[in-house]
Symmetry: C2
Subunit: 173 residues, 2 copies
């Protein structure tokens, strides 16, 4: 049996949510590399409904966002934030468009990991969409908030675990 492993499977398996970061900055080129990865995600009808707002460390909007989530310490410590929003004029199906944003976010997280960065997908902040959009001067008639990623250089690796595959299979394989 051939060994079913390669750098992509390895990255997928090793990536974890990282919420603690060093003081070292994240560069605009690194953020662009993550967004380049995001844009190659698949979407229904290839509608690419995602829009991105990158906030570099130290931007005044970082502190405003930190105050809107229980993950404030990760947002404050992050050296870059990526806000993923749906362009309402590009959407065709709310659930499927959010699924696509999940695929784009996974590309961002894998890209971060592959670059030696650490990131965490913040979902709880989405419940404060109105306040987030006010803090970012985003038009709620134009966008729907999907998620936010906080990114930095890991000062502590994540340690999240997963259920065994057998528990996830509807029938044995």
């Amino acid at each position: 049996m051939p060994e079913l492993d390669n750098p992509v499977l390895h990255a997928i398996r090793e990536r974890r949510s990282v919420r603690r970061y060093t003081e070292e900055p994240v560069s605009a080129d690194e953020v662009r590399a993550m967004l380049e990865a995001a844009r190659w995600a698949p979407s229904g009808k290839n509608n690419q409904p995602w829009r991105f707002l990158a906030i570099m460390g130290g931007d005044a909007r970082q502190q405003a966002l930190a105050e809107l989530t229980r993950s404030g310490s990760a947002v404050q410590a992050a050296k870059a934030l990526i806000v993923v929003a749906l362009d309402k004029s590009a959407m065709y199906h709310q659930i499927k468009d959010h699924q696509s944003c999940g695929a784009a976010m996974q590309n961002i997280l894998l890209a971060a990991h592959s670059l030696g960065l650490g990131a965490v997908w913040l979902g709880e902040i989405v419940s404060r969409e109105r306040q987030v959009f006010e803090a970012l001067s985003l038009d709620p008639d134009a966008y729907e908030l999907a998620a936010v990623a906080a990114i930095g250089r890991p000062s502590r690796q994540g340690s999240g675990q997963r259920k065994p595959l057998a528990d996830l299979l509807i029938e044995p394989l």
Copy 2:
């Protein structure tokens, strides 16, 4: 400036939806490798709401699914199908749980690509959830259909394109 490239970014950029497959089978070990990738996706509260049903080529359920989608030719030609469903008892937020399934699906698609396979994410079939669940003997009170992946060895590569990054940025980076 360091070159911001690596095998993970390369795979993310090169992966496309593949709808045409050779007659060569996909092995159960390859499907397990894709599902191993899926289970490492992130989810809100780490609730891991995804459940998977793998259908190997030739299974009678393959033809039943083919008749339920406009992508019937891809489903018929596929050498494996992965049905991604949400376990209703594990869900905590419909939109976020579907986002997580999007991340898990992206892991499946990237894993397939990394193994030399080709895959396509089928979303249209979700509108026929009732008939899909009947064909698969799945309890609609227990599961919510998220997506289906069709997988095989590419006989023709996909060629989907994407908007330039500049068109996706809410403000310049």
